[in-house]
């Protein structure tokens, strides 16, 4: 793109070569979010790009990955609001990897952490408001009218009752100085934010025409299937491809850094031939000896249990750690959550073409910037020679923030000298994930005479995610990229990892923050057998929500107090959480009679800036836990698209119910035992509860919605199971027999 940018930091691309021409404006989101980290070069280049053509088309080049969470629609709604154009009339284009598309909160192009709407709320609105103002100014000039007389509505200029499409003024607008600080609409005037309920990708996704990574195809593209070591960290010692290499369609059989790949004309040929390849593996010793079922004190659960005896590193220290010795009563309990796979519906895949030193990558990724760097590393080219083409993601949930499959596809393309699409099987996907960490936690809750919590002590044992993320990041980014973007990324959500590598905050988040207690102590013991860990929808909150809310229920039960009232007594400093809890209780009819055999359980949890409370209605039939209904109340600040917020609550709860009722990854001699949906089952429609979702009306800044629906649900169900059966289930998945 050829650009002329005014030296006064105006984001106005006057001679754009974008097809269609007209008014083309962009903003550097990194610079806007964190000026200290934006170099001058970054500040001068546009990233999120908005175009209004002379033919009145509005194009928005979307800088975030769409994996189902509705960001495609949400970000376009922000543009629509301030530009005054219906969201349905904006053509949205997925952007490829570009350093300038960095996420304002991460400093790298990553979609995750429920940050997209939160981080873009003001920058994108300002961009669109500025564009609308310059179009009005152009109209005022051409029509020789005062600016005040120029009104807009749905992509048109209105003056004295006459309508003119924006497109008529964009050429003049391009010649004007681009405004920097047009007034934003007050919330009371929003037409689309909080009101627009259609998804812009609905048609493509209802007709099979949305292009996912696996749908990428072109003349000469080959398909690859890959045999990976049964234990993570293994490598190929030797392989025998004599019975495979002459099979139909087979073009190449190559060894790469972590496996052997068959490249064939068609996928099924590659898969069949791969089955005939015999591989001898070099396997890592530590993980290779780890079995979750082991009864040995130094293996499996024994490792975790033993670690509870250690003092641990301090993760949070508030008040007096010794005060618990004076507590009137101490209630203790320990909880377990297993490893989990993501199981996106679309298995991992990536398409790579290397030609004349240039690399093209087609991938659905939550971090296309990382994918670009990884491809450059494995193709041994400069990252300027890599182009990443983004597709829709067939589910992300954190899995697609890693680029292991991009590395593999690039290595296969390079070794075979063929354009390839690497296709993982479901078995590959289940057994070669970056898993949700397993976690063991022990709480000691100190109470005073009237039952008020005075001491909140919790110790968490388990592996951490950050080392695995840093591993990939450092490989791909160092050294040139490291000084600002990586530091930014590592410091997301306040990580202070470079200050001593003490406790990874994602390992303890959610264990202690929500309730009032004068003394809070969090300690952490790292136990890591070496299975790779990754971000899994809601990260640490995915287990801490279950632990903390089960513990709170146990305390209330021990004190014979109502579970809602008891929580409210300890939410004086957390009024937004108290509010959603009250609303959920009232909406669900907490304390009122239910159908015979049905019981309520409640849980509430804050994560990603949002406050959520849930009441689960549960019955038990021959030891089967049946969830009939979930009432969910969320305060996410401004709900940009209420329909998407509701869908994310339902989706987060269903994802969480799969984990609560079914999810468990186990290892034998370091190898994952589950392989497909028969032994790693997902919630299906017949198990899906009825939902009632209430969104608190709020003008606070928008917060995350993709993840916060998940953390409370397992505890809400477990607490209802206790009410129904008197059995306290302290391990996930919840099993009565």
């Amino acid at each position: 793109m050829s650009t002329t940018v005014d030296q006064s930091r105006r984001r106005f691309l006057k001679q754009s070569t974008l097809a269609g021409g007209g008014l083309v404006v962009g903003i550097p989101l990194v610079g806007l979010s964190n000026a200290a980290h934006a170099s001058e070069a970054q500040a001068l280049a546009p990233n999120a790009i908005l175009q209004v053509t002379p033919t009145n088309e509005v194009h928005f080049y979307l800088p975030r990955s769409e994996m189902g969470q509705g960001v495609h629609t949400g970000l376009s709604t922000l543009i629509a609001e301030e530009l005054d154009v219906s969201p349905a009339n904006i053509s949205v284009h997925l952007s490829g990897a570009n350093d300038e598309f960095a996420n304002p909160e991460f400093g790298m192009q990553i979609t995750g952490g429920s940050t997209s709407i939160k981080g873009h709320f003001l920058p994108l609105r300002q961009l669109a408001a500025n564009a609308r103002l310059v179009i009005r100014q152009a109209a005022a000039k051409q029509l020789k009218q005062p600016l005040d007389a120029i009104q807009t509505q749905d992509g048109k200029i209105f003056i004295h009752g006459k309508a003119f499409p924006y497109g008529e003024f964009v050429d003049i607008a391009t010649a004007l100085d681009f405004p920097e600080d047009a007034a934003l609409k007050p919330a009371s005037e929003f037409k689309y934010i909080g009101k627009y309920n259609q998804r812009l990708d609905a048609m493509a996704k209802s007709t099979g025409t949305a292009e996912f990574g696996l749908d990428v195809d072109f003349e000469g593209l080959h398909k690859a299937a890959l045999k990976q070591p049964p234990v993570y960290g293994g490598s190929v010692k030797s392989f025998d491809d004599s019975s495979a290499k002459n099979m139909p369609g087979v073009k190449a059989i190559v060894a790469i850094h972590n496996g052997v790949a068959v490249v064939a004309e068609h996928y099924y040929q590659a898969k069949n031939a791969l089955a005939k390849v015999e591989v001898q593996w070099q396997l890592p010793e530590t993980l290779g000896a780890f079995s979750t079922h082991s009864l040995d004190a130094n293996n499996g659960m024994g490792l975790f249990e033993n670690a509870l005896k250690e003092e641990g590193d301090n993760g949070h220290d508030e008040g007096d750690a010794k005060a618990i010795q004076q507590a009137n009563k101490v209630i203790s309990a320990q909880y377990w959550a297993p490893y989990l796979a993501h199981a996106t519906m679309e298995p991992m895949n990536c398409t790579v073409k290397i030609e004349n030193g240039k690399v093209d990558v087609w991938v659905g990724s939550q971090s296309p910037g990382m994918a670009k760097n990884i491809a450059a590393l494995f193709a041994d080219v400069s990252k300027d020679d890599v182009t990443v083409h983004s597709t829709y993601l067939g589910g992300g949930f954190g899995r697609r923030s890693a680029s292991d499959f991009v590395a593999q596809a690039t290595a296969i393309a390079k070794a075979s000298n063929l354009p390839v699409q690497l296709v993982w099987s479901r078995e590959d996907d289940t057994q070669h994930d970056l898993y949700r960490p397993a976690a063991l936690a022990k709480f000691d809750i100190g109470l005073n005479k009237d039952g008020t919590i005075t001491d909140w002590h919790v110790k968490r044992v388990g592996p951490n995610i950050m080392p695995y993320m840093i591993d990939e990041t450092v490989d791909a980014m160092a050294p040139g990229f490291m000084p600002n973007a990586m530091v930014d990324w590592l410091s997301k959500r306040g990580y202070g990892l470079f200050d001593g590598w003490v406790v990874d905050p994602s390992s303890i988040e959610g264990l202690f923050e929500d309730y009032d207690s004068p003394n809070k102590q969090v300690s952490h013991v790292t136990i890591d057998p070496g299975l790779p860990m990754g971000f899994w929808r809601s990260v640490g909150h995915s287990y801490s929500g279950f632990f903390k809310e089960s513990m709170m229920d146990e305390v209330a039960v021990a004190l014979k107090q109502d579970a809602v009232e008891y929580r409210l007594k300890h939410l004086k400093q957390n009024p937004r959480l108290a509010n959603v809890l009250k609303q959920a209780a009232s909406q669900a009819g907490w304390g009122k009679p239910l159908a015979s055999g049905h019981f309520h359980g409640v849980a509430t949890h804050m994560s990603f800036g949002s406050f959520v409370a849930q009441v689960a209605e549960v019955s038990i039939e021959s030891n089967d836990i049946k969830v009939h209904k979930v009432t969910c109340v969320i305060d996410c600040g401004t709900a940009v698209n209420p329909n998407v917020v509701k869908a994310q609550m339902e989706g987060g709860i269903i994802y969480g119910l799969t984990a609560a009722l079914h999810g468990e990854i186990t290892l034998k001699d370091g190898a994952v035992e589950q392989s497909n949906f028969h032994d790693y089952p997902m919630l299906r429609m017949n198990e899906s509860p009825e939902f009632e979702v209430v969104i608190i009306n709020s003008n606070e800044s928008p917060a995350g919605v993709g993840e916060p629906g998940l953390p409370p649900i397992a505890a809400a169900v477990a607490n209802a199971v206790y009410a129904a059966s008197g059995k306290r289930l302290r391990s996930l998945p919840l099993k009565l027999a």
């Binding site: 609905a202 209802s206 099979g208 696996l214 519906m345 679309e346 067939g394 299906r684 429609m685 939902f691």
Partner: protein, 173 residues
């Protein structure tokens, strides 16, 4: 040579008969709307109508559809002319990531073809072979009911891109 009817058109494909139908459709015939999810017939992402039945094609040898009629999502409707089920899906913004939705729509179409006014439990039974990891089940259920009522009120058809075998008419009824 494999011979069958695909979305109303006779097709011939040079592929081994034991190749799963899904891969014949995706790799050989280049229709990408039907998805690969599990390869074991467990998730329903690959669902197609085979003589009107919602069928898991990732484990279905292509030879077994010889002389049969296969309909994929592309044969149910398209962005220019959507079926009643697709319209209901768009109206309710059912899709999140969207990957499983072709299979969901195929199963919903088969259900409504056989049972124009299904109850909640009949919907559960017919749809429980299709996994959605984003958790769109509540919206799917609502959209199926909306589509059922649209068809009953003459406001849409279950297949609009489908051509009856041996017919060249532009639209089957």
């Amino acid at each position: 040579m494999l011979r069958f009817t695909l979305n109303g058109q006779a097709v011939e494909v040079d592929a081994p008969g034991d190749t799963p139908l899904l891969w014949v459709i995706r790799d050989h015939l280049k229709l990408k709307g039907s998805k690969f999810g599990c390869g074991m017939g467990l998730c329903g992402a690959c669902s197609m109508l085979v003589d009107g039945q919602s069928t898991r094609t990732c484990i279905l040898p292509a030879a077994s559809v010889a002389n049969k009629s296969v309909t994929t999502i592309e044969g149910i409707g398209n962005p220019e002319l959507v079926s009643a089920v697709q319209q209901a899906w768009v109206d309710a913004s059912v899709a999140q990531c969207g990957y499983c939705q072709s299979g969901q729509i195929v199963s919903a179409t088969a259900l409504l073809t056989q049972n124009p006014n299904p109850s909640d439990s009949e919907i559960d039974n017919a749809m429980s072979g299709n996994i959605c990891r984003c958790g769109t089940y509540p919206k799917i259920k609502a959209a199926i009911k909306q589509a059922a009522s649209a068809v009953q009120n003459g406001q849409g058809k279950l297949q609009v891109g489908y051509f009856e075998p041996n017919k060249t008419a532009t639209e089957a009824s």
